[in-house]
């Protein structure tokens, strides 16, 4: 069929340019129960769905004996059949140590390995292999990447990945590592509530406070965001990691089993029967979101019982849980010193916010109807995709995050000295001085902690390292300056330096819960079939970016100060620039480096003359920005 006419809409040309084979950036919501991937083009986000039209991929991984991984719905179906080979809810273990997991014992659906050589992150025994949560999450992310590449028909190598606002340093690092293993460069880790706010375009809205109410299957989170001139700040967060829609299911299942017991007397229940009751409860819950009542057949001990539930009874059953979420909202508002009426909008996230009682209670508390017209299961991925586009194509929105928890050091007596308070805007760097407490003390242990409690053993231990080589001095004479730096993704680096002698130690706070670099490169090597080629390509890409930056800088200088050169000098520089450009067009990294070096050599005298003129201008009180270029003659060389 012949094409009639092609009309190019505004913004269309940009879209086409983006589609000419360059790798794309996607947004990924890496969830505890489900994961979602979305892509945005020209400001129009869309969720990438499977053949069945479902955007949700269960965050469940099944491992075959040969080590290959199966992710999603099929893996979830294997969960009952082959529990020893299937992992779910791995997000709860991201960046977690063995000690942290002890408290979760019994609630975890898989076996946890006692130790890993470094006392670091937990390992799981799965299908006869030992895997870290990072590797398992990488398998989930890889399947999201595959889904995106299949649907878009092109390579996807960059992503914005969302994390809970309360995720600590170790969990953020682990998430970033997982993406790297999956062959995705993380453009930015974005907090889930911020992503939800972006999905609703709140960055385009009037300034004010917004609340993000996120009720999932097993967790509840409330975040308070401040939006001002397109800048988002997370002001306060709160939640409960063991409160969610699963509690609703339990309450309803108990109600059904009670009805059955009343009719037929009490009997012991098998695990399978409890599971069936829970399944039925979930069906009933979903029914009652749109209908006033219903009845269902419950099978226990081979006999069927008719059970029923109406909306009013359902709401009475779940009301305590919903009330708890509202109490937590109240606490977070108190924490931030604001009143419900100060909140200009409320965004609903998570499947459990479909329950009408939840919406009603949220509306009552905040005094306004919540925003709910984007699918609450997909809204986070949608926001992440918008941010991925903004970071690659440029936009006016800026996300400013804060530290979710305080960061500090252990001091004498097991006390915590806070260095960076929670809710400090990032990136941030802070330093504090410490001293020795014994005469002649030559080493100092640095124990990095995260949390709000006063005692070190109540806080999260992030890293330990030692500063050696402190010169012998009397107690209290040495000056040890410890620096904490948190980058825009919320990742921490700690350095320690003895200021009188300059003895220095620097650690990225990573090894203790993330993977160390050796482990990482081993896994990268194993996981990528073309690890070497990929690595070489990355290095080449960096070299090209750098060389192009150099050419642009020289072009700028020539345009501004070209009259400082005679014709021959100018020709030499232009020739060197052309040589760099030719090298960039090729794929020999060494050739690019050589050409850049030559360009630097040729432009050196030019740079000196420009500096001399800048200093002379400053002497006359002329600002460098407004140099009187005409009045200046080329400076002679000495």
């Amino acid at each position: 069929m012949p094409e009639l006419l092609q009309i190019l809409e505004p913004g269309e040309s940009q879209k086409q340019e983006r589609e000419d084979g360059r790798p794309l950036a996607v947004g990924i919501d890496l969830g505890t129960t489900n994961s979602v991937v979305a892509v945005s083009s020209g400001g129009a986000p869309r969720v990438l769905r499977g053949d069945d039209g479902n955007g949700l991929v269960p965050s469940v991984v099944a491992y075959a004996p040969d080590g290959s991984a199966l992710v999603g719905e099929l893996a979830r179906q294997l969960l009952l059949e082959r529990p020893e080979a299937v992992v779910s809810s791995v997000k709860r273990l991201m960046g977690r140590g063995v000690a942290d997991v002890k408290s979760l014992e019994g609630t975890l659906p898989f076996e946890v390995e006692e130790d890993s050589a470094t006392g670091g992150m937990v390992r799981l025994r799965v299908a006869g292999r030992t895997l870290s949560p990072v590797e398992i999450s990488a398998d989930i992310l890889r399947s999201m990447k595959d889904r995106a590449e299949q649907q878009l028909g092109r390579a996807v190598d960059k992503a914005v990945v969302t994390v809970p606002a309360y995720f600590d340093d170790a969990a953020r690092t682990a998430t970033k590592d997982a993406a790297r293993l999956a062959g995705l460069e993380v453009l930015r880790l974005v907090n889930e509530p911020t992503a939800a706010a972006l999905a609703y375009g709140l960055d385009q809205q009037a300034e004010g406070l917004y609340a993000i109410y996120d009720l999932g299957g097993g967790t509840f989170d409330i975040s308070l965001l401040r939006m001002e001139k397109g800048v988002f700040q997370v002001r306060a967060t709160g939640g409960d990691s063991a409160l969610g829609g699963d509690d609703f299911d339990h309450a309803v299942a108990q109600h059904f089993l009670g009805q059955r017991a009343a009719a037929r007397g009490r009997t012991a229940l098998s695990v399978a029967e409890v599971k069936a009751a829970l399944m039925m409860a979930r069906v009933a819950k979903e029914c009652l979101s749109s209908q006033a009542d219903g009845d269902w057949m419950l099978e226990v001990g081979g006999t069927m019982t008719r059970v029923d539930l109406d909306r009013a009874t359902f709401e009475r059953l779940i009301d305590p849980y919903v009330a708890r979420t509202i109490a937590i909202c109240q606490g977070v508002l108190d924490d931030a010193g604001v009143l419900p009426e100060d909140v200009k909008g409320v965004v609903l996230v998570g499947g459990s916010t479909r329950v009408p009682l939840v919406r009603r209670r949220v509306q009552e508390f905040f005094g306004r109807p919540p925003l709910a017209n984007i699918n609450p299961d997909e809204v986070v991925a949608v926001g992440a995709s918008l941010q991925a586009e903004a970071l690659t194509a440029g936009s006016d929105t800026l996300l400013l995050d804060v530290t979710p928890l305080s960061l500090g050091l252990e001091t004498m007596g097991g006390l915590v000295e806070r260095i960076i308070e929670r809710n400090t805007p990032i990136p941030v760097a802070k330093a504090q001085e410490f001293t020795t407490f014994q005469d002649g003390q030559s080493a100092m242990a640095i124990h990095v902690l995260q949390g709000e409690r006063e005692m070190a053993d109540q806080c999260r231990s992030l890293a330990r390292f030692e500063l050696h080589g402190i010169p012998p001095m009397t107690a209290g004479a040495a000056r040890i300056r410890v620096t904490f730096a948190v980058d825009a993704d919320g990742l921490l680096t700690v350095g320690a330096r003895e200021t009188t002698t300059g003895v220095e130690q620097q650690v990225a706070v990573k090894p203790s819960y993330g993977l160390d670099e050796d482990e990482m490169s081993r896994m990268l090597y194993e996981s990528m079939r073309h690890a070497k080629e990929d690595m070489a390509l990355r290095v080449l890409t960096e070299a090209r970016v750098e060389a192009t930056r150099n050419c642009n800088a020289v072009a700028g200088a020539l345009q501004a100060d070209g009259e400082l050169l005679d014709a021959a000098e100018r020709a030499a520089i232009e020739q060197a620039v052309a040589a760099v450009q030719a090298a960039v067009a090729g794929s020999d990294r060494d050739a690019i480096a050589a050409a850049v070096e030559e360009l630097e050599r040729v432009t050196r005298p030019f740079a000196e003359r420009r500096m001399d003129r800048g200093i002379r201008a400053a002497l006359r009180g002329v600002s460098v920005e407004s140099l009187d270029r005409q009045g200046d003659k080329p400076a002679s060389e000495e």
Binding site: L187, R188, E228, K229, G230, V231, A390, L391, T392, D396, L398, L399, L400, T424, P425, I426, P427, V428, A429, A485, D487, A488, E542, V545, E546, R549, N550, N552, A553, V554, G556, A557, A560, D561, T603, R604, A607, R610, M611, R613, G614, I615, R616, A617, A618, L619, S623, V624, E625, L627
Partner: protein
Amino acid sequence: MQAQTRQADRTAAQAAGTMVTRCWSCRGPVAEGAPFCPTCAAVQPPGQADHFARLGLPRGFGVDAADLDRRYFALQRQLHPDRFATRSAHERALSQQQATALNDAYETLKDPLRRADCLLKLSGQDVVAEGCNLVNDPELLMEAMERREALAEAGSTVEVDAITRATRADVAACVGGLAAAFSAGDLAAAGRLTTRLKYLQKLVDETRVRKLQLRG
């Protein structure tokens, strides 16, 4: 004579040299403290500018909060690492340093106490470490003890709220006094009021803790 002029020239050039730095990218001149190169637009290291200069404000206690926010957001919009997500590693690192320095300046100037501290330091006044010069001010010491006692004895959240309200009013009065002291150039008074403000803000924190205790 000739040699002397030369020497003077050189000294002056050195002084001017400290106001002009070299762009790492195009190696041309950049004014000290400018976040971007005027020639090639490359982001520059944050340099040594003080917090006021970084936000383009004159040194002084009177800072308009809305104006401060505007300046901060405008600069952060240009300097934040997200703006450099697809740029070279060096530019990303520099933007990180710039955004860090900017956050530090903003956080300092936003808070009256930290702003006062910063001004005193810039004026060469040594600010005494937290809490330890209450002793030099017997009146303040007395007041502090009485208030702490009242707070410890408060048996209900209503009583605590009353103390919070009174303390907040004192904080506001103290900030007003600081503005007057700084504009009159009375650094000694400013120092005293800064110590008082430190203590008052601590008291506000303590009232919050007390309220949480009472709530159980």
